[in-house]
Structure formats: structure tokens, C-alpha cells
């Protein structure tokens, strides 16, 4: 058995030993640990909680003395190592005893830095009475005992520890002043603005803060009576707590001939320079020029060290840590990671500041990746930001989403934090565990995992979280799915290339596209619908319509329901109907015993539960055109009553809505197009949240909004233009829709399309015609409009054999229950 000696029984030393034991190191090593403090191992981070009285001492111990015994570790608590003889391979304690080692780990941590302020020490007797560093459990105990009997405290140092000390001291005495040498609090982590906001919040808690204050003297003859500042001010006090930072405890290493700079210099295996058998870990170690004072890097280091020393993974290497912290500092939530301020001219910076609420957020982006973020007062987005920072994830197009939740379900929980049985996809009931298992089974692309698990295949709002989980589960080994940029999965081309090829080879049918452009000429079921839509848009009347390329809804011009029946929605332009129309619909519903009659969100009447074979009869009896409630197409224009009847209406919204629907009815596109026209900014027709919404404003003008949504994704549309007449609305609406049809990805709704292109760019093209293509867009839309046929005319003769034949089984499957009250 080899002899392993660990100098230091703090968080780094104990954690490293735990990691070694976990790797079976207990069988290879006889472990001896030396600790300065006469205790087992405790969580130093919690000392401020002990000071604040929210945690008692017993609660902060990590490993009590029995743990050492149980694991056959010889612990020498309260024995300080003063010298390492690296040639003889022995360490010597302050009582003169020597202990031999084969492998040595130095985990001596750090100590409080006490600046050489006159009066801080009493010659030969340690600190002046009333002066305390804040580092160990003993410091904390002494401080509490003394503070309870006194009134006023000054904390020197406005960093993390100083703030915690100040807050904790408020528990024990009535007046606390924080004196900080820099211009703002927590200057290592925060910029000036964030520091100022934090200061306000801290002051509200009753802590006085003095910044840019150099302490020049500790006053008081027998015990502390005050501190003197460089500007001459004196702050009376009877307790002084020094929290001016930490320094690596590297003295023993240095005097023993190890290489020490700011800390003990180690390589990527945590070995000390030129010393194959001596390691250093934690705050006392300096790796690639960095020393760390936080706990997360320590965990990383401990793992690498354990992997290496036990031979579990001799190639294990520590590459440094990206430091991100999230803490409650003196009662205020603070998170900081990476840069606190931009460094380069092209660094992208977002800053939000609301001092009144004590909220500050800043985000720094370089080359599309998060390189820094600061949050004060509101850390809701921290989980996402930390992950983006740590893993270099792609950031949302809408940068504001980095700081705020803009509608839709929030991405607050990071993938790692989620429980295994947490449901991620609420449409298809897929848990995190299922997604992770799929990745571990070898599926490393996001789209592949989505296909296999069906996560994200419902409303799609969880796609972001699914992506995060895949990235987390794959540990950064996510493979780009090349198909992600293709228009459809079966033809390896993005939309612009695909359209160019279709034009070049004059491919007018879906089968022709597969034959010419798909690998091996293979057709692909998943690609058919998107290609059919695209070809119809491009070729109009010349399109060779192969019915098998259509989805069932488009084959039978109705929307398939869960029981295999269909829904029938007759056209009702602008949501305006007549008594005669209503009577006819009522009669048809009665005649065919329609199980449910329902008003839709788009102001239409829906007849549900129609068997496929009855569709032609129903259409004939209705004798109304199709309302297109089933296609990836122009759906409805919702309107309010407008100026005809409404006492607030400033524009004739119904007339315009009807005119728009009349013209663009049934036009197919990459996704559904739901529109609205509303007669005044009260917005009763919900025009702000439509793919295209028109709002009448006073003075006979009309505003056109695009890219809105109020489904699974909620987004207010962007103002495209304000125009003077309904005719201009109709023209611009058509031009925008055509631009979307030609450039939108398959199934990409306008709420994603508009932000992707950018509203300014869309305005240039559609309104200002800077590209000179407005005429082409208008002409293309004109020909699509001219090619329109009402599909419900297909009722007299089926287009294909058995077009309306039932596909339902003989046995009755789960049926949608008929509600009472429905006929």
C-alpha cells in the first residue's frame, strides 16, 4: 500500500480524498490528513450563515470525525505541517514529528489578507482587541461573542465576504458600516453601475456603505474605538472585521522549495511543477496563471487529481474553470460570470438597469457566444445564462430573451437541474430521462432525438429545452444535423437553392423533384407536403398536382380529428354571416346529425365529427365555399364590428377584413396564416398577435403588424407600416405574404420568420422596395390569386378513386364523446 499524505483538511483536501475513495483509492493508499483546525471538515462558505444566525455550527460540518475512522483515514486535526522534505519524502509537523509519504497532496487553502494598517495589530499580541479577520470557524465564534457585547462595527472590504460579514453582524449589533477601498462594491465581479445598484439595496437593509475609502488607521488604546480614513474622516466603532480578500497559503510549499507564484504552480494533472509525487489542489494552487477562490473550480480540480492519482484516468486533465457565481449577497441576489465589461469594440453588450427596484442586468456577447453576464436583484435567467456561458450554447435571436421571459414557457430551469422524471414535452408526455436515454443510446442530433422520442413534436415550445437536454446529455458532443438547414429532410438543399434548382430543371411535380434532386432519387414521405406547397406556390396552374404528395387534410379539404372523422368549416369572410347562412348551417347540422357545432377562435362555425365519406354531401348541402380551416395556408381574417356599429371604431374593419379574405383565400404557404383587422387600437380583433394584423387608427390611417402570435408561442407583431388607405393595406399584405411564402422555411410561422429576417429588412423589401422586387412579389401573388379554385367543388366527382372512402376500422375506436346539448 502506498502512503498518501494530505496537508489540509478543508473543503479541497476532504473533497479530493472523497473523490479518491470513490475511485477505489482506499485500497491503494493508506491516507493521512493534517488539518490546522481542531475539527473535522466543514463548509467554509456557510460561515456567513453561522454569523447571520441562520445556521448553527453543527449544520455546516461536512465530514465529522467518524467519517475519517470509517474510511481508515488517520486525521491529525490541529497539527500544522511546517516543512516538506521532498527528497526524503517526509512532512514535518509543528511538534517536530515526521511523517513519510509516497504521494503528497497540498490543500492548504488560503487565509484572510489583512492589510498592514497601523493599529490593526498589537505588538506581539496578535490583533488589536476588537479586530477580527473573517475566515475560520474560530474567527466567526470570536466575532459573534465580541459583537454581542458591543454596538458599532466597521467592516473593511466591500467584496463578497465583506458584504456577507456586514449582513451577518447586523444580527449581533445595532450599527454596521462597510468601508470599501474601490469606487464600487464587489468590483472584482461587477461593473460600476451594478455595484451602485447593489449598494442601494444594501443600504436599504440598514448597512452604511462608504466607498473609495482607504482605511489609514485603527484607533483606540486598549480596544478599538474607531477607524480613520485617508480623507480624514473618523468612523467611531468598537468592532472591526477585516474582509479584504484572501491569499493562497503557500508558505510551507515555498520554504520547502516548490515553485510558488501567487499560488503553488501546478500542471493540468494538478501536479506541482517538477514534482511527480506532489499535487496541490484548491485555493492554494495556481493553474495556468489563475488562482480560484470559489468552490466550483475546486470540485473540477479534485476530480482530475483523483482520476490521475488513482490511475483511473491517467489522461485526465484540468483545463481551468469558467467562473460563474450565483449568490445571495447580504440578502440581494447576485450572479456574475465571465467578463464584467466589454473588452473589444465588436463585443455586443446589453444592459438593463432599474435602480428603483434594485435590478441590474448586463450581458456581453462575442461572436454569438455569451462571454459575460451580471445580474443583480433579479436572477431568474441565471440557469440559462450559466449554461450558455459554460457550454458556449447558441443564443436566442431575440437577445432580450437572455434577460427576460418574453411570453411562452420560460427556460428557467437548466437541463442539469431538471429531475429525471420531469415532463419536458407536455404535448407528447416525454420526460427528461427519456430524452437523455435516447442520447446515451447513441442519438446525438437534436432532430434525431426529437424524431425518436417525439419530444418537441407537438406545439414545439419545448424545443429549446429539448435542445439543452440533448446538449447536456451528450456532454457537448452534440452533432449538427445538416438537415436542419434544409427546406425538407429528403432533399439536401436550403430553400433558396432548392427553388433555384426547381426553376432550372423545370420540376413541376413532387415526384420530379425527388427523381432529380433527392439522393438516389429516393422519395421521402416527410418531405412531400412541404414540396407540394412550394411547387404550388412557384408554378401555380402549371403545377402537376400529385395527390399522394398531399397530407390527408389537403386531399379531402377538411381537418382530420382524433377519431378519424373530419371537421367542416364553411367560409365566413371576416367572421360576418347572415341569418340565411346560419339557417342553412343549422339545417345541414341537423340533417347529418353533426355531433358538435362549435365556434372557432377565428370567428367561424365548425361542424365536427363528419365521416370522410359524408364530406361531399355536406358541402353540397351547405353550398358554401371552403373556409380553409385545415391547410398550411391563409386561414381567416378575424374582424371587429368596426365603424359601422361600434361607437369607438375609426375604420371599417369588417369591410377591409372581408376584402383581404376575398383576395387571399386559401393561398398556401410555409405555415398557417391567421390575420385580423380591427377598427381601433382597442384591438378587439386581436390584430397585434396575428401573422398579419391591421389596426385602424384615427385620421383614416391603418397600421400593419406582422409576425404576431398568440398560440403556443405568444408574440406581439412588429409594425411594418402605417398607410392611408385600405387598398394600400391589401397590396402590402399580399406583398408581405408573398415574401414569406418565398422565403419562410417549411412550417416556420411568421413569429419566427419576421425576427429571423428582421423587421427593418422586411420593411426595406416590402414597403420601401430597396431591392426592386416588389413588382415581382406582387405579380407572383396575383397569379396565385388568379389560380385559386374552391376545393369544395370537388364534391361532384372525386379527383382520385376512393378519395372520400373511409379509412376507419370496423370496430369503433376511442370516440370523441358527444356532449349533452350538442345535437
Amino acid at each position: 500500500m502506498e502512503r498518501l499524505v494530505v496537508i489540509g483538511n478543508g473543503m479541497a483536501g476532504a473533497r479530493t480524498v472523497e473523490e479518491i475513495l470513490e475511485r477505489g483509492g482506499g485500497e491503494h493508499f493508506a491516507i493521512t490528513m493534517f488539518g490546522d483546525e481542531p475539527y473535522g471538515n466543514y463548509n467554509r462558505i456557510m460561515l456567513s450563515n453561522v454569523l447571520a444566525g441562520v445556521e448553527d455550527e453543527a449544520g455546516i460540518f461536512l465530514n465529522d470525525l467518524t467519517w475519517y475512522a470509517d474510511n481508515n483515514i488517520t486525521l491529525h486535526a490541529g497539527r500544522r505541517i511546517t516543512r516538506i522534505d521532498k527528497h526524503a519524502k517526509r512532512v514535518y509537523a509543528d511538534d517536530g514529528t515526521g511523517t513519510p509519504y509516497d504521494k503528497l497532496i497540498i490543500a492548504t487553502g488560503s487565509r484572510a489578507f489583512v492589510p498592514p494598517i497601523p493599529g490593526i495589530h498589537r505588538p506581539g499580541r496578535g490583533y488589536h482587541q476588537g479586530v477580527f479577520p473573517f475566515r475560520t470557524l474560530d474567527d466567526t465564534r470570536n466575532m459573534i461573542r465580541y459583537a454581542r457585547e458591543h454596538e458599532r462595527a466597521v467592516v473593511i472590504g466591500g467584496g463578497l465576504l465583506g458584504l456577507e460579514a456586514a449582513r451577518g453582524l447586523q444580527n449581533h449589533l445595532s450599527h454596521v458600516t462597510l468601508v470599501h477601498a474601490d469606487g464600487h462594491l464587489m468590483n472584482t465581479q461587477l461593473d460600476a453601475q451594478a455595484g451602485a445598484i447593489l449598494q442601494c439595496s444594501v443600504e436599504k437593509l440598514g448597512i452604511e456603505v462608504v466607498t473609495s475609502a482607504i482605511t489609514t488607521e485603527i484607533l483606540g488604546k486598549h480596544s478599538v474605538t474607531g477607524v480613520k480614513l485617508k480623507d480624514g474622516r473618523t468612523i467611531p466603532c468598537d468592532v472591526v472585521v477585516v474582509a479584504a480578500g484572501i491569499r493562497a497559503n503557500s508558505h510551507v510549499a515555498e520554504t520547502s522549495g516548490l515553485v510558488v507564484e501567487r499560488g503553488i504552480v501546478v500542471d493540468d494533472q494538478m501536479r506541482c511543477q517538477d514534482e511527480p509525487d506532489i499535487y496541490a489542489v484548491g485555493e492554494c494552487a495556481q493553474h495556468r496563471g489563475e488562482t480560484y477562490g470559489l468552490v466550483a473550480p475546486l470540485w473540477d480540480q479534485a476530480r482530475v487529481l483523483a482520476d490521475h492519482i488513482t490511475g483511473k484516468d491517467p489522461d485526465a486533465a484540468y483545463h481551468g474553470s469558467r467562473v460563474a457565481t450565483k449568490l445571495k449577497v447580504a440578502g440581494v441576489d447576485v450572479a456574475a460570470m465571465g467578463l464584467k465589461e466589454p473588452e473589444r469594440d465588436d463585443d455586443e453588450t446589453l444592459v438593463f438597469s432599474e435602480p428603483k427596484k434594485g435590478v441590474y442586468k448586463s450581458v456581453i456577447i462575442r461572436g454569438g457566444r455569451l462571454v459575460g453576464a451580471t445580474l443583480v436583484g433579479d436572477v431568474k435567467k441565471v440557469a440559462f445564462l450559466m449554461q450558455a456561458f459554460d457550454r458556449g450554447l447558441a443564443l436566442p435571436e431575440e437577445r432580450a430573451e437572455l434577460m427576460f421571459d418574453l411570453g411562452g414557457p420560460p427556460l428557467e430551469v437548466s437541463a442539469a437541474e431538471l429531475a429525471d422524471d420531469a415532463q419536458v414535452c407536455n404535448c407528447n408526455g416525454v420526460t427528461k430521462g427519456t430524452i437523455a436515454a435516447c442520447v446515451h443510446d447513441g442519438c446525438k442530433t437534436v432532430s434525431g432525438v426529437m424524431d425518436k422520442t417525439r419530444a418537441g413534436k407537438g406545439c414545439g415550445t419545448c424545443k429549446g429545452l429539448v435542445t439543452q437536454i440533448v446538449e447536456w446529455a451528450a456532454g457537448g458532443a452534440v452533432e449538427e444535423d445538416p438537415k436542419a438547414s434544409w427546406y425538407v429532410p429528403g432533399v439536401p438543399m436550403p430553400k433558396p437553392e432548392l427553388m433555384a434548382a426547381i426553376r432550372q430543371y423545370e420540376l413541376t411535380s413532387v415526384s420530379a423533384v425527388f427523381a432529380k434532386l433527392a439522393p438516389g432519387g429516393e422519395e421521402d414521405a416527410k418531405s412531400k407536403m412541404g414540396l407540394a406547397s412550394l411547387l404550388k406556390m412557384m408554378w401555380g396552374d402549371e403545377y402537376v398536382d400529385e395527390r399522394d404528395a398531399r397530407f390527408i387534410n389537403d386531399r379531402v379539404h377538411a381537418n382530420i380529428q382524433r377519431d378519424g372523422t373530419f371537421s367542416v368549416v364553411p367560409q365566413m369572410k371576416g367572421g360576418v354571416t347572415t341569418p340565411a347562412q346560419l339557417k342553412r348551417i343549422a339545417e345541414v347540422a341537423e340533417k347529418h346529425a353533426v355531433p358538435m357545432v362549435k365556434l372557432t377562435g377565428g370567428q367561424r362555425i365548425d361542424l365536427l365529427g363528419i365521416p370522410k365519406e359524408n364530406l361531399p354531401k355536406i358541402w353540397a348541402d351547405l353550398d358554401m365555399p371552403s373556409g380553409w380551416a385545415y391547410g398550411k395556408s391563409f386561414r381567416t381574417v378575424k374582424t371587429c364590428v368596426g365603424s359601422d356599429f361600434c361607437r369607438f371604431g375609426v375604420g371599417d374593419s369588417t369591410a377591409l377584413g372581408i376584402a383581404i379574405e376575398e383576395r387571399y383565400q386559401g393561398i398556401e404557404g410555409p405555415g398557417k396564416m391567421k390575420l385580423a383587422v380591427t377598427g381601433c387600437p382597442r384591438n378587439c380583433a386581436e390584430a397585434y398577435v396575428k401573422d398579419l394584423g391591421v389596426v385602424a387608427i384615427d385620421g383614416g390611417k391603418w397600421e400593419i403588424y406582422v409576425g404576431g402570435a398568440a398560440g403556443a408561442h405568444v408574440r406581439k407583431g412588429d409594425l411594418l407600416a402605417t398607410v392611408d388607405s385600405p387598398d394600400e393595406v391589401i397590396t402590402l399584405a399580399g406583398r408581405f405574404l408573398q415574401y414569406y411564402r418565398e422565403n419562410g422555411n417549411w412550417l416556420e410561422r411568421t413569429y419566427a420568420f419576421v425576427p429571423r429576417i428582421g423587421i427593418e429588412r422586411i420593411r426595406e423589401i416590402v414597403v420601401e422596395d430597396t431591392d426592386g422586387i416588389a413588382g415581382d412579389l406582387d405579380a407572383a401573388m396575383d397569379s396565385s390569386v388568379a389560380a385559386y379554385r374552391d376545393p369544395w367543388k370537388e364534391r361532384s366527382a372525386p379527383v382520385t378513386p376512393g378519395q372520400f372512402r373511409t379509412s376507419l376500422p370496423l370496430t369503433v375506436l376511442p370516440q370523441v364523446p358527444v356532449r349533452e346539448g350538442a345535437s
Partner: protein, 104 residues
């Protein structure tokens, strides 16, 4: 069992037939060949004859589960479909018979 004429099924589409007490979806692939599988999606009862196909798979129209037409196996984690043997007789009629288990 003898069903209707093969040209009842348009190229690239499927139609449902009763075979004994079972419903069978018969598909006519664009390469001209035929496939027959159980007509009901095991996931939620979707009518597979209404699904879109290519030369390999059918996609259920309700929740887009995918099934291999030759093996019946699902690529989206659903139970497999029953596969039937289908051919056209001399009169151009479809003939469907269940696969004997040893062939599966």
C-alpha cells in the same frame, strides 16, 4: 382474400379494406409495388390508410408516428404493425393474406 381492383388505390396512396374481421391498409407505392399492414395505428387508433407514404414507410396522420411498410416496425417507438402478404391476381384484383408467423 380477394379485394377490389388494384386501380382503386391511386399511386402513392393507401385504402382500407376489411379482411376477415380485421382492417388492413393496402398501399400502392410509387414504384408500383404493394404493401399491406394493419390499418389502425397502435399509438392512438389513427387511420393509417390516410397516411402519407414513400417507398419505405407510412406516417400516421394523427401524431406522425412512422412505420416501416415491409417489416411493420415503428421508427418512432410504437408497437409494430401486422404485415400482410398482398398481390394482384390475373383479373387485376388485390389479394391479401396474413403472413404466416414463420415468415415474419
Amino acid at each position: 382474400m380477394r379485394l377490389g381492383p388494384v386501380d382503386e388505390i391511386p399511386l402513392g396512396e393507401g385504402r382500407a379494406y376489411a379482411v376477415g374481421g380485421e382492417m388492413v391498409a393496402v398501399f400502392r407505392l410509387r414504384d408500383g409495388s404493394l404493401r399491406a399492414v394493419s390499418a389502425v395505428c397502435p399509438h392512438a387508433g389513427g387511420p393509417l390508410a390516410d397516411g402519407q407514404i414513400d417507398n419505405k414507410v407510412v406516417i400516421c396522420p394523427l401524431h406522425l408516428n412512422v412505420f416501416d411498410l415491409t417489416t411493420g416496425c415503428s421508427t418512432t417507438g410504437q408497437p409494430a404493425l401486422t404485415v400482410y402478404v398482398v398481390h394482384v391476381d390475373d383479373d387485376g384484383h388485390l389479394v391479401v393474406s396474413p403472413r404466416v408467423p414463420s415468415e415474419v
